[in-house]
């Protein structure tokens, strides 16, 4: 019988630490594979963006809009490794969830929540930066067309 299953049995529940909740374990255990899948997706997407950016940067020298293509390529090269950061937070979240289940310590719940908060902070900052970049590109296009 696993620890989570044992926790649901009334007689065993008294033996568990009072700061360890079986329902928390259940939620975190169900979230673990999803976090790992998303982390792997972020890593794969980051790798693809990195290679696409490098290719764009290297092979667009003879293109009619070479300057713009190279700028976009350089942007993608920067963006690619940046996508590994949320993956790292998600992997840490899943590790903390596993430890909370196995070790039954509240420290690991706090750790999972910390990684979760860091993940959303990172996504928020990236969203703000991308909005600023998009507005900048839009303004450059409008003023470029007018000029």
């Amino acid at each position: 019988v696993s620890t989570a299953e044992a926790a649901t049995i009334g007689t065993v529940e008294k033996r568990l630490p009072p700061d360890w909740r079986p329902e928390f374990v259940e939620s975190l255990s169900k979230a673990r594979p999803l976090a790992i899948f998303l982390g792997i997706s972020f890593l794969s997407a980051g790798g693809l963006v990195l290679f696409a950016g490098a290719g764009m940067f290297m092979f667009s020298r003879d293109a009619p809009i070479a300057g713009l293509m190279q700028m976009l390529g350089a942007l993608y090269v920067v963006m690619g490794p940046g996508m590994a950061v949320p993956a790292l937070f998600l992997f840490r979240y899943s590790t903390a969830a596993k430890r909370y289940r196995d070790v039954q310590g509240p420290t690991y719940l706090k750790e999972a929540l910390l990684e979760h908060a860091r993940f959303w902070m990172y996504v928020g900052l990236v969203t703000v930066i991308s909005v600023i970049v998009e507005l900048g590109v839009l303004a450059a296009l409008i003023f470029g067309v007018r000029a």
């Binding site: 939620s27 908060a117 902070m121 996504v123 969203t127 909005v131």
Partner: protein
């Protein structure tokens, strides 16, 4: 107004609530940006239709679909951000459980988006071959 418990259950600490609050704030903030972006997307789609007098239906449709997906993500983030706020104010085990379930739901939304992206890429690769 219902009274809020001041004494925390043993399985929850003030630090944990602070982290939940911080994540919730970011979720509400990102959600607001996405909802605003989706509304702009709908307006742009409408403008494309008006300017081309209905000729660019495919472009407008793509714009509207992308805006609809963005709206769903934005609203999901806002909802989960508010769940976090309620949990922090309630300071109960049920609230913390709701936050953990909400985290799982958001991960499901993320996985759904990854699946959608894979389907789109597969279609983009396959359609030119099928059209021949």
């Amino acid at each position: 107004m219902t009274e809020r418990p001041q004494i925390l259950p043993r399985c929850i600490t003030e630090e944990m609530l602070d982290l939940v609050d911080r994540a919730g704030w970011w979720q509400r903030f990102i959600g607001a940006i996405y909802v605003f972006g989706a509304l702009v997307g709908f307006v742009l789609g409408g403008l494309v239709l008006l300017r081309t007098q209905g000729a660019a239906v495919l472009e407008a449709g793509t714009q509207a679909f992308s805006a609809a997906v963005t709206l769903v993500i934005g609203l999901a983030l806002r909802t989960h951000g508010f769940i976090a706020r309620v949990a922090v104010e309630g300071r109960t085990i049920a609230g913390m459980h709701a936050v953990l379930e909400a985290q799982r739901n958001l991960l499901i939304v993320g996985c759904f988006l990854v699946a959608l992206f894979i389907v789109f890429v597969a279609l983009a690769v396959m359609v030119p071959f099928l059209m021949r």
